[in-house]
């Protein structure tokens, strides 16, 4: 028995031992990131991915007037979500509001972003100010417009005291104020994205165009503007998607007829407790906005978006 041990001479043993530890170091190296990732990936899987799959299934269930929802495969909710003219009207209206909002964000945001990029001294302060709204509560910023446009708000008070009007005019609670609130909420996203894009453009390019005889306006239109389009597109996508997914702004600044699609979801889930229908409606919203993101991703890629977020 003892002689059996002699087969493993010392040098060879060390060799094997080293191989084993090398292997385990390598295996550890390979295992370690997964240990680190297990908690965060597990959380996102359990709290987002699985729930999304779950509501796909749930959207084919049926609500019963008494007792729990009826499991099974019933296309009824989807049929209603896709064919009901009221839902279709709200969906169209939501996309319209989001589009107008995005347009105004671009209109207000582009010149401001351009100014910040090219201004010399106070760039840092302007940028800090631009970041500030991200830290100010969304609901505060939304309701702040009631102080301005309400019947006893700043504007009515001013008009009354100057005698332009004799009684307060109703300016709030319509589609225009919903759009106003959304533009106010989303403008910083637009400006920031355009700024990131403009800041990355070599100013020599514009100078080169000017030195070759282009006017400032021409060099802007033909050099700077096209180069900044990715930022404009990223900002536009963010504004559109965030705008189309909101239900708080219409509740605070809109009238009873200014519901957006997310309001339908909220109504179905919270007020009517029709969870299968709510699932179908929220998935429809996800599909429509997801299609938009997919088109964007196909042509421009996601990297521009994370650049603006980071």
């Amino acid at each position: 028995m003892r002689s059996g041990f002699a087969i493993f001479d010392h040098a060879q043993f060390r060799h094997y031992a080293k191989q084993i530890t090398d292997m385990s170091v390598e295996a550890r190296e390979r295992r370690q990131p997964w240990i680190l990732l297990s908690a965060p990936l597990g959380a996102v899987t359990l709290l987002l991915l699985v729930p999304l799959v779950f509501i796909v299934i749930y959207s084919f269930w049926l609500r019963s007037a008494v007792g729990p929802d009826i499991a099974g495969f019933h296309p009824d909710n989807w049929q209603r979500a896709l064919t009901d003219p009221f839902y279709r009207y709200i969906l169209f209206n939501t996309l319209k509001i989001a589009a107008i909002t995005t347009f105004f964000c671009a209109l207000l945001g582009y010149p401001a972003a351009y100014f910040i990029t090219r201004s010399s001294g106070n760039k840092l302060i302007l940028l800090l100010l631009l970041m500030l709204p991200f830290w100010i509560s969304y609901i505060i910023r939304t309701m702040s417009w009631i102080n301005i446009l309400g019947s006893s708000g700043a504007l009515n008070t001013l008009l009354l005291s100057t005698g332009v009007i004799s009684s307060p005019i109703q300016m709030l609670y319509n589609e225009a104020t919903v759009i106003l609130g959304l533009v106010h909420f989303l403008l910083p996203f637009m400006v920031l994205n355009i700024y990131v894009s403009l800041d990355g453009i070599d100013t020599n390019l514009e100078d080169a165009a000017t030195s070759l005889g282009a006017t400032r306006w021409q060099s802007f239109l033909q050099v700077t503007l096209p180069l900044s389009l990715p930022g404009l597109a990223a900002g536009g996508l963010l504004c559109f998607v965030l705008g189309a997914g909101t239900y708080i702004t219409p509740l605070i600044l809109g009238g009873p007829r200014d519901a957006m699609f997310a309001n339908l979801v909220f109504e179905a889930i919270i007020t009517q407790l029709n969870w299968p229908m709510g699932s179908a409606l929220s998935l429809l919203l996800l599909l429509v906005l997801g299609a938009l993101v997919a088109v964007y991703n196909r042509f421009l890629g996601m990297s521009q978006l994370t650049k603006g977020l980071g």
Partner: protein, 261 residues
């Protein structure tokens, strides 16, 4: 368009962004009993009313606890994920990143519905636990983006030096990487706290009846009428969510300067 015109335009855009908020702060100090224009004098009566309003104070405590727990959990998860993604060669890195960022790619309403229905099915109904789970999941991407960006700029050699001198990976993390990463960890935590503290879209879906956070409390107060108390509450929120990051930045800077000397 001349430069002066662009400047004037930008000033107007900034005014558009800040004037309404400035009016909120201004009106919160209004003495007028209806809290509307014209201002009749400066007073702190609305802040006093807030202090004595039990519902508001309860909402504050809820928001504070929720925000702190969210920041703690979300930052821990975010640091783990960032370490794995930046420091190791993980196969399928792009897919993993996309999955981890997914909570901000999905509209918050959809995320709120999915989480509510699924956890309810598992037996966790509308509760503080559900609120916390929701807040963690949609603040996580922001923490990861902030921490990752910083981690990329910390040179690997410093960690390798520690490792080659015999420190274990865990020791290396706590005595080398984490101190260098601290500004980003703090920024990520603050970010998570502020987002949680501000959130209303998901919170309205997840909160149990009778429990209010500050934003949902403001929302239900708005249902009645706009009172100067809401403006005062808004001012307090602005001070917290804007003041806290500024304070944090100042502290980080002063620590960095001490180290520098």
């Amino acid at each position: 368009m001349g430069w002066a015109a662009i400047r004037a335009y930008t000033v107007l855009v900034y005014l558009f962004m800040f004037l309404p908020v400035a009016v909120v702060v201004l009106l919160s100090f209004n003495q007028n009993q209806f809290g509307s224009f014209p201002m009749t004098g400066v007073s702190l009566r609305w802040f006093e009313a807030l202090w004595n309003n039990d519902a508001v104070m309860r909402a504050f405590r809820t928001s504070l606890i929720l925000g702190l727990l969210t920041a703690l959990i979300s930052t821990t998860l975010g640091v783990l994920a960032s370490l794995a993604l930046v420091r190791y060669n993980v196969p399928g890195k792009n897919l993993i990143t996309t999955i981890l960022i997914a909570p901000i790619l999905v509209p918050e309403v959809v995320l709120a519905v999915a989480l509510l229905l699924f956890l309810n099915w598992l037996g966790i109904g509308k509760s503080f636990a559900l609120l916390l789970a929701g807040h963690v999941i949609f603040t996580l991407p922001f923490v990861i983006l902030v921490v990752q960006a910083r981690l990329v700029s910390i040179r690997r050699d410093v960690e390798e030096a520690a490792l080659s001198l015999g420190a274990s990976p865990v020791q290396t993390f706590f005595s080398v990487t984490l101190p260098l990463l601290m500004p980003a960890v703090a920024a990520g935590a603050l970010f998570a706290f502020t987002i949680s503290f501000d959130d209303i879209t998901g919170t309205l879906f997840w909160k149990p009846g009778g429990v209010e956070t500050v934003p949902t409390q403001i929302f239900s107060m708005l249902r009645n009428s706009i009172s100067p108390e809401i403006n005062a509450l808004g001012t307090v929120m602005i001070v917290i969510t804007v003041g806290l990051p500024l304070l944090g930045a100042a502290i980080v800077r002063s620590i960095a300067m001490k180290r520098g000397m």
